[in-house]
Symmetry: D2
Subunit: 366 residues, 4 copies
């Protein structure tokens, strides 16, 4: 019956509109006086949960494409497009807070009492998103000193543990970066070459600043201080031991090899084989930043709704959310690559063989 695909379907049935519109049952109407704004409250959260489902759909597919030993190059742009879709959705989620803010504090009081102890902390899907991206249990804010999983049932807990132990996007990207073949390639040693460039640049700048007739002593001191500050950042990346100390102390998370690879991608992003990897790392930072913004705006909205009062879930609403905004950021180490960049003009030319290998077969074979 291969042509069953020609069976017809109505918009109404396809989208299961009857079921969809039957699940906005307000507690205020069921248990007391119907509060006009409770429908909005339910719908806003249901819309968020639908977007969460979509984000999980994309994340799961991206993880599968990344999980292969050798990521298929024909899939890389698909990965990029799906990550961009996630960004676009999270952008929309940020905008949606404006709808939430049309619910005034006074109107919220008309049904707030019925919601106890329900709370956004209990959104399973949002936790899954964070964990799939790479947030670890130990990176999370605790909940009254206990695990964030305490509000979930056994089956849900097991599901979250499965995700936490199963290879997050962070780990997949880390391994993919570590596999970059161009760190040491055909006689080219990226790290040495970069170190030399950094040293050369720092020395040149130091001499120029010290000898400059355009800077008075205070300004010279300030510039040299900035230079020294940059220098200390460079040192971290120049030393594997220092990097591993930082990892051990939780100051960074991305492995040394992956960090160097991300640096290489950022510096040589114009080479064809690094175009999509560069855009892909950028998109991971976009998602991270947008989720951070969403948490921050969420915290602002809660402050507006209940002031400093305790939330329906029993937490200190605003403060908890505000604290998670930065703390739950996942790809911080990618943001920090900026500290390690040097101007393109300071970079040495690549050997011809390396250059060819960063281009297309069609161009290179000639």
């Amino acid at each position: 019956m291969s042509d069953q695909k020609y069976s017809t379907i109505h918009y109404h049935n396809y989208l299961e509109i009857d079921k969809l519109l039957s699940i906005q049952n307000t507690r205020s109407a069921a248990l007391g006086d119907a509060a006009h704004d409770e429908t909005l409250f339910i719908i806003m959260h249901q819309v968020y949960e639908l977007w969460f489902k979509q984000i999980m759909t994309e994340l799961d597919s991206v993880c599968i494409l990344f999980r292969e030993e050798q990521v298929n190059e024909d899939n890389m742009n698909t990965v990029l497009l799906r990550l961009k879709r996630i960004s676009t959705i999270v952008s929309l989620m940020v905008e949606q807070i404006h709808v939430m803010e049309t619910l005034t504090p006074l109107d919220f009081l008309d049904f707030r009492d019925y919601l106890f102890p329900a709370s956004g902390f209990q959104s399973m899907q949002f936790r899954m998103i964070e964990s799939t991206l790479g947030l670890r249990e130990e990176d999370r804010m605790t909940y009254h000193g206990k695990s964030y999983k305490i509000v979930f049932n056994e089956e849900q807990k097991a599901r979250l543990e499965g995700i936490e132990s199963g290879g997050s996007l962070f780990e997949l990207v880390e391994r993919w970066l570590e596999r970059t073949p161009f760190l040491r390639f055909e006689g080219f040693d990226f790290l040495s070459s970069y170190k030399e460039a950094v040293d050369r640049m720092l020395h040149k700048e130091q001499a120029s600043i010290s000898g400059s007739e355009y800077l008075d002593e205070r300004m010279k001191a300030m510039r040299l201080k900035m230079l020294g500050d940059s220098n200390s950042y460079f040192k971290h990346v120049l030393s594997k031991e220092e990097h591993e100390r930082m990892m051990a102390e939780g100051e960074c998370r991305l492995s040394y090899e992956a960090t160097i690879a991300a640096l290489l991608i950022n510096l040589y992003r114009d080479k064809p084989i690094l175009n999509i990897p560069f855009n892909l790392l950028t998109e991971l930072m976009n998602i991270d930043e947008l989720l951070t913004t969403w948490r921050y705006r969420h915290a602002q909205m809660v402050m507006r709704m209940i002031g400093n009062k305790i939330g329906t879930g029993g937490s200190s609403g605003h403060d908890y959310l505000a604290a998670t905004a930065e703390k739950h950021k996942i790809f911080k180490d990618l943001h920090n690559i900026s500290s390690l960049l040097i101007p393109r003009s300071e970079l040495p030319d690549l050997p011809e063989g390396v250059e060819r290998n960063l281009g297309f077969y069609f161009s290179g074979k000639k």
Copy 2:
């Protein structure tokens, strides 16, 4: 059992998450090869339907507050806040098209064939929104020469007819405007006073332009043409007969009395009793404009998705939608009030008695 409100509830149950997340069943998976992007397609439409439900919730409540013979002044700001909520939601709906646009034409082809003949034309709730706002059957684009209702079942048709015959927001606002007591009040005749001001202004300007040493003949002619053009607009409002001819010929819809009242509200919007009415008329225009933008962006998105091909519903996709953008605008007459405004400096002062009546009791009684 008055304290049943203290029964506890979990986020998961409150929002009926299980049901909500069980209704994204892709046809591609059921009837052929699962297409990754079909989930997005379903979720995007379900989110729209949730927002439509919320808009209907607000519209219904606003209509009830407006339906009273004498609208309760204590409800006016509530009406305004609910209309603003609708604007905020439609703004978000416009932004959501960016998510839709992450679905590329090629990926859409992976499941497009399964959707026949489902189509957005079959969204009952969107038609309800348009009709509740005031779109009449005769104002609508026809569907292959037939009524837009043809895609609905009998029960749905009946529901739409009920709305169409039951007093739309347009009609309620029209009647509310017609009841404005200040058109003729304590010896003040707004229309005469306005006519005089318009005449005075036009004559003064005509003389100034004609005698100006700053304008050459071509510029004088151009300015006088513009003045004449304005003049002809003023004439419409100065003559009830002309207005009724225009109504009969479908050039405008809002009654003469309501038009004059809307003009008065716009000109004297700074008077306390007219503050909220002015903001409320502005908000109706916002909603109208945002819905127009949504239809327009929707048409653009369809063009991108299927080019000039016929849509799954059998219509000429893009062209139909683009045509409805302006045609389905409802409060055009409010937008046109701008043509009738004259600078505040040209307006005569209000008699003291009228002035007091446009203010607060607290201020006026002294």
Copy 3:
């Protein structure tokens, strides 16, 4: 020469396009190798400065309208519309950060060195906006332990001091709130009436929770804790002494009388005379929140651009900005009013005389 207004003007001259487009002179081109992206960097900041000028234009006009002993009621909606314009502009400023983010860290390095020690800290207009809104010197982050004014010249310092001592919008709004006549009016004492309602509500709830068959002991304890928490907030407002202690210790800033008035406006916002005041307080919170978001997004963008490196102005870029986000919030006390609200159903009816005085003359005199 009264008709000089008829002299003609070309778009190009009206907007002084030649001058406007002649002031994007890149340092990289002047002092070294032209960096493509420096033009963007200049234009982005110039656009911000233009918006700052517009915001100052609106703020100054609003302050003038508020400065009168008895604010003219005919100006209140104008104030509201101008505050909304500020919100709209700050919203756009937040969106503009997306343009800034198209400047990649690597491209920024091509001209960053030329900018020393220029920095956004040196924007005079932004400081003026903050001070005019009501940010005091003592509320600000210090700049390397010194006054933020250190980067300005003497004339600029004097101007900022003038603003700081001249009556900010915060102070004008505070005085306007304090003048609200309805706190004690025709035998109605708002504060006593509110206190009684709060007590009644708290007792009723406490009894209900304790006796509820729907709550187990842990849940009862949690709810009672939340109730107690609310209670402690109410206490602050119930005691002028406590409020003054909090003011002295910097925990709040808005005077006791003004706080009570803001509470009254929020609770009785549906009364006509309080409609615009309520919308106006909401708009002040919007502006505050949007500026906070702008600072926060700005901090995120800086993190992305330079990682943890020191900014061109010598500050710790990201951390400084992130810290100002909340710290420079001005109308926190208005956000906190939410903590003091009680459901409308708990409010006592207003005496008829009071009710009439909160309405329109036209309605009340009948």
Copy 4:
């Protein structure tokens, strides 16, 4: 004096703030009564002109990179990032219309008379953007039956003519597409292979529809009509003669070879060498669509501001702008590629040699 780059600079001087803030000189203040909102009007337009300059900066640089005989592959991602920057800016320009809409029609009347005959039609930079993208004189709306250039002086006209005759982005992209080597390559003839796939697909579908037990006669007819409609679109691309007839009659503009290349890029977008070209064509459509939206929203705003009155420039304001929205779209032919796509599952596999040539040297040489 190589270290002149260390000369210091203040934010205030770098951005030429004094000049920037000195050019908002209102005509209302100079010639009559100062109108509060005129400053906003000037600033809004100046901000637009600054963005126009930035867009021109990007367009000029992109055209230079594209103008080389063989576009340097190391520049392709830079081109993409600059086109995305343009999209981001135009998105912001669309949002800015909300600021424009805070200027109410009544307030506009306070200074509208002073602006004659200035008009947005006189923005030189906006015309340059349209022409550089590829809008030809003959594609433009005429201005009272005359060339749009009539409002410019001789030097400006010459500049616009230079752009119009100098190779627009449309033409550069067209030539770049025409050079695609993969249309006929190592024994693979894309067009024949595509034609066969289309025929195979159409026949299979026709048979399935005709024989389907799931469709009644009306539905069969409808589906076959849709199929026939698709078929007629395919025919255009299958025949060079037909395409050239369409070009001659102005129904399309992009050359036959370029159209086929764009089709190939869309169908095989997952191959590494086509990743950036695909994203780049998408970005051109984004820019086109966003500019269309901007014109459309602009038209809406004008309708709101002056209703149906004639604009200060003497044109029929809203109608002119609304008509340009679609008419001035430049890359319509790229949007129409969607009509020609077929599902990936219908595409034949590429010969191994071709496949390798669409990949990276590093992967292919093994």
